[in-house]
């Protein structure tokens, strides 16, 4: 059986097409996490 990594040269380009989506999802997730943290901090200070 061949490991998937053995065919990396065939499918890595696919990952490059996914790049913009991955970056955007990561940015939105971080922003969402920061918003939640700020909200929690505000709630605890009141």
């Amino acid at each position: 059986m061949n490991l998937p990594i053995a065919h990396f040269g065939h499918w890595y380009v696919t990952l490059l097409y996914m790049g913009p989506v991955v970056i955007l999802v990561a940015a939105l997730s971080i922003q969402s996490w920061r918003d939640k943290r700020r909200k929690n901090r505000d709630d605890s200070s009141h």
Binding site: V13, L16, Y17, P20, V25, L28
Partner: protein, 471 residues
């Protein structure tokens, strides 16, 4: 909620991008010689979409497309409607007759080229430029209207039944899926006589539908092709209505799409079937260990013959890709819901569905532009020899297809530009709708973050589908 959404998004996008590797070249000629790798175009397109999104957030603070802004440009005589209907019926008769009586070779007979190239691909492009050009030439609508007029004059016939609200655009969604199945999965799809019989069966169903529910109601919601072309026509700056030609802003008809049941499935089907066309021609489907081949073997092992096994495999693939596209849209909607203001997912899904229209058209143009530009030229000689033998009606029987009309690089640039403009238009429509639904411009912009992810996902998917065509 956000974490669940992120995980679900990653799964669906991974599934979407892990499926196809190449797209249909559809008559593409020559090798691309691009200055940068093709995947960089996906990054460039994504950057353009992000900039468009920021530009909309800053420069478009109030809804502009929600109010009708149409001006009458021209009044059209009633006779023109009758004349165009008669022309539509004449073309219909010629195409059906050519399929039944002509040679049964798909490339030599008029019918397959008219159906798969001029009708399926050409009319959407014309609809974008000139509005709903199909409606006045729609042969079954012309027959229905003519029959209705005659019945009224004779004082016979009963009033039609009210079109059921729950039925909505479901008949159109199923019929478009069925047409796509014929085009992509049915092994006998290019046989001229089979095509003619299917055209006659479809026309008969339309006439039955119009006689039961009334000509106008059925043609607006039940006639799949009337609905399909009518959706694209909503993006056009021209609007033909009640004997008038009106002008409006580009995209101006889309916000007035009534989001009745079946509209979301119809648009997801339109995008999904085009995507599957690309997917089904890539090595991950057709390769030695491709999904399509593996599925086909499974059904061969179950005792089906090769033809049926192939059709079942393609049917599963077609429905699977439609479901992936539907899931991507659903993700955008769930993301919008996470902004708050208590909008229900179903409501959001329906109210933003018009933003999928330019994407569906972009996919059609990107995927089939080479087919239209090359195979579309075949009409020059097929019109002279519609049956495939013996005639030279217009003296153009010896014409050939000029493959220098556009090169492989030109086709790629058309595809990239179509996808970027289509998705930027989708973002614009969604942003405008969000401004009219949310309490502040800030909330409206925040609601569209996940829609931006979906748009970039669709763009990357589209470019990826197309990219391997020349690799």
């Amino acid at each position: 909620m956000s974490r669940r959404l992120t995980a679900a998004g990653a799964t669906v996008l991974a599934a979407a991008l892990a499926l196809p590797a190449t797209a249909s070249a559809h008559g593409l000629v020559g090798k691309q010689d691009l200055p940068i790798p093709r995947w960089l175009f996906a990054w460039a397109a994504s950057i353009v979409l992000v900039i468009s999104f920021v530009g909309l957030a800053v420069l478009w603070p109030k809804p502009r497309l929600e109010q009708p802004r149409e001006r009458r440009a021209l009044r059209l005589p009633v006779q023109l409607e009758v004349l165009s209907g008669l022309i539509g019926i004449a073309i219909f008769v010629i195409v059906v007759y050519a399929g039944l009586a002509g040679v049964q070779t798909s490339t030599a007979n008029l019918t397959p080229t008219v159906v798969y190239v001029l009708f399926w691909v050409g009319i959407p492009v014309l609809s974008l430029a000139f509005g709903d050009v199909f409606r006045p030439f729609n042969p079954w609508l012309a027959i229905g209207r003519g029959t209705g007029w005659l019945v009224k004059r004779l004082g016979a016939g009963a009033d039609p039944i009210a079109y059921p609200a729950w039925l909505g655009r479901w008949p159109a969604a199923f019929a478009i899926l069925a047409f796509a199945w014929v085009e992509l999965a049915y092994t006998n799809k290019a046989d001229p006589s089979t095509l003619s019989i299917m055209i006659l069966a479809y026309a008969a169903m339309q006439i039955v539908g119009m006689s039961v529910y009334g000509t106008e109601a059925w043609s607006r919601y039940g006639d799949a092709f009337g609905v399909y072309f009518g959706l694209f026509a909503r993006l056009s700056p021209l609007h033909w209505e009640r004997g008038e030609l009106r002008r409006r802003p580009p995209l101006g008809g889309a916000p007035f799409l009534d989001p009745i049941p079946g509209t979301v499935p119809l648009l997801c089907t339109m995008i999904g079937t085009t995507s599957f066309d690309g997917f089904s021609q890539g090595p991950l489907w057709t390769g030695t260990n491709g999904l399509g081949i593996q599925l086909q073997h499974r059904f061969l092992d179950l005792g089906f013959n090769a033809e049926v096994a192939l059709e079942i495999a393609f049917t599963i693939g077609l429905i699977g890709v439609v479901l992936v596209i539907s899931s991507l849209y659903r993700l955008g909607v769930l993301g919008m819901r996470s902004v708050g203001e208590n909008h229900q997912a179903t409501e959001l899904g329906r109210r933003f569905v018009h933003s999928l229209i330019p994407i569906a058209l972009a996919y059609v143009i990107a995927h089939y532009c080479s087919l239209l530009l090359y195979q579309g030229q075949a009409i020059a000689y097929l019109a002279s020899v519609p049956l495939g033998h013996g005639s030279n009606i217009f003296g153009t029987a010896d014409r050939t297809i000029d493959y220098n009309v556009i090169n492989a690089n030109g086709v790629w640039y058309v595809q990239v530009v179509a996808l970027v403009i289509g998705h930027a238009s989708g973002l614009t429509l969604a942003h405008d709708r969000a401004l009219s639904m949310y309490r502040s411009a800030r909330a409206a912009t925040r609601s569209q973050y996940w829609m931006l992810v979906v748009m970039i996902g669709f763009t990357s998917l589209g470019l990826w589908l197309l990219s391997a065509a020349n690799s």
